[in-house]
Amino acid sequence: MRVRYALLPACALLLAACAETPQRPLAPAPAPSAADPAQSRSIARHKALADQYGKSGDLAKAAVHWQAVVLLEPDNAANRAALAETRIAISRVANEQLAAGMAAMRAGDTDRATSAMLKVLAADPGNAEAARVLREIEKQRAGRTQAAMAARARTETTMLAAASGSARNGDAREAYELEQRIEMFRAGDTNGGLRELTRFVDANPTDKAARAQIGSAVYERGRDLEASGAREEALQFYDQAIALRGEKVAEWTSRANALRRYLGNEYYEKGLKSWTTDRMLAIRQWEASLRFDPANARAAARLAEARRLLGNR
């Protein structure tokens, strides 16, 4: 007797462990029966879906809906037969299409191979061989798409030769590459941006529209710097803008020359102030004045005079 009673709690525990623990209290499920309208509706829905998928060639989906119908109506032999037939059809289609796809691959016809492998996977999504072949085809396709770019990995010299033709001009990708470089530059990566813009110009020396766009971006940056008082840096950008554009723009040249004169005068004045306290500094400032504006006669005269005086000592 003790053995009997001792087993009962063990049984209860095992059954409890086996049972699914609902995450919240659940209502008792009505037992399925053919007369249950909710059951019938569900059976009808999944039969219709199985039919629909079967007719469209989505055999894998058809099979899983037949599987649902069989679960809903386990005693119906016709449903089980439909499920079995669908699975046989899956196997047949997958085998036929896989063979066709492999033959197409051997013949080098990747379009036909792709089509066949897609059919295999529509019927049998777990078919690893079809998936492998599709991925290989896609890898080759992606490689071809990048082929033009891969060719660019040779040298810039090659690029220059290619760029001299018209094929690169007006290309959408070129436009993107150009805009990307300009955005980098505008966003404050001036060193990286200028380096990339210079590379673009080097690779596309005849692309006048692009060079005008690049020059304008660099010139605008110069204007901003000049407005903020960073005049020497601004002048560097004006000079780079003119060089990158590759053709004269009167306004740019005029502004650069005006700034050169301004800086020449500024350093001349600084030299005058420094002369009484630090003559060497004054000389360096007049030298700077002449670097900016070689035509600054006053700076030239002062520098000559200073050198004469210091040289006499």
Partner: protein
């Protein structure tokens, strides 16, 4: 003759064995009856009517929708689309039999009508003035609202990676959002909008940009990563074209530059953000096999180009298509970039 106690013990063991057999989920055979635990145990098991390895038949409770059923039976309300897709409806009346696909749809997204493709959208800068590579805040908000209201599912690149590896099915109309370079406007304009809609996004950073006037700072990036919505991935060190060997570069110098352009930003992101980069965005979208090789050596698993279009499950992971969204696009153009299904029939 067996003693009475032993007979009872034998009976209990038999009953127990039968009960446990009923509880075990045997693999389904086409010609055999499915495990019929449901009928026998319906009352004690709640609304689970029947099940096998792949499917579970449950009885909908009042107020149940696909998300509630997914939360209860799949442990994740986000898997509600599995139930919706399988049953063809997302609202259920109480007492209705609902089929729960326990393993989800097959993750390839391939059917007789065509195959699923995932567009990876690429943004750069946000704000005014409107330029090709600068989308205004208002336009970005309108685009996100469009995705939200029209059944698009914005997924992370990690989810997309799982799809490519055949590990996870993606909901129909899945879209990935990426933002290149690391502009400050990503944090100031795009991030609040992404947070509003709960959309994940990947920022591709070229690391030399950090510190520039219009670049994000590391604390801003750390904040975004902590949100769980944004991940930061490498986009080179200097943004030089990796498929281009410069005139003054020897092949060895070129390989070394490629190595640095891949390894440095990856290491920096790991160090500053504590995450392990897995995806690389090629500067200007340009790539060759030497670059792919370097990605593989660095432990990166995906690479994105700027060749437009959607990505099927069989896409080459190191040359994924990515579609740029331009500031000059109108909404119709934006919609046309959302290629989530290729209707090339498989039949």
């Amino acid at each position: 003759m067996m003693p009475l106690a032993d007979r009872d013990v034998f009976r209990v063991v038999v009953v127990l064995a039968l009960a446990l057999q009923g509880c075990a989920s045997a693999p389904p055979e086409p010609d055999a009856h499915p495990p019929a635990l449901a009928v026998a145990h319906a009352a004690s098991r709640g609304p689970v009517v029947a099940q096998d390895d792949d499917l579970q038949i449950v009885v909908a409770q009042p107020g149940d929708d696909a998300s509630a059923l997914a939360a209860r039976h799949l442990g994740d309300p986000g898997k509600g689309w599995w139930i919706t897709q399988f049953n063809g409806v997302d609202k259920f009346t109480a007492g209705e039999r609902v089929v729960i696909p326990r393993k989800g749809p097959h993750p390839l997204g391939i059917g007789a009508q065509g195959y699923q493709t995932v567009p990876i959208l690429s943004y750069h800068r946000f704000g005014s003035p409107k330029r090709r590579l600068s989308v205004t805040g208002a336009d970005f908000e309108a685009q996100m609202e469009f995705l939200d209201r029209n059944g698009y599912r914005v997924i992370s690149l990690a989810q997309f990676s799982a799809f490519l590896e055949g590990r996870e099915a993606l909901p129909p109309k899945s879209v990935v959002i990426t933002i290149d370079d690391g502009y400050k406007s990503t944090y100031e304009i795009a991030y609040p909008v992404l947070r509003k809609y709960g959309f994940p996004a990947t920022v591709f950073l070229y690391s030399d940009f950090v510190g520039a006037a219009d670049a994000m700072t590391w604390p801003q990036m750390q904040e975004m990563v902590r949100s769980g919505l944004i991940d930061i991935q490498p986009h080179s060190k200097t943004h030089s074209n990796l498929a281009l060997r410069f005139a003054n570069e020897t092949p060895a110098q070129y390989r070394e530059r490629v190595r640095l352009e891949v390894e440095r930003p990856s290491a920096l992101i790991s160090e500053r953000l504590g995450t392990k980069p897995v995806v690389y965005a090629y500067p200007y979208g340009d790539v060759n096999e030497a670059v792919v090789e370097q990605l593989q050596k660095t432990g990166l698993r995906l690479g994105v180009t700027v060749s437009p279009g959607g990505n099927p499950v069989f896409a080459y992971p190191f040359m994924l298509r990515r579609t740029m969204v331009f500031g000059t696009d109108d909404m119709e153009t934006f919609k046309s970039r959302l290629i989530t299904f290729n209707r090339t029939p498989a039949r």
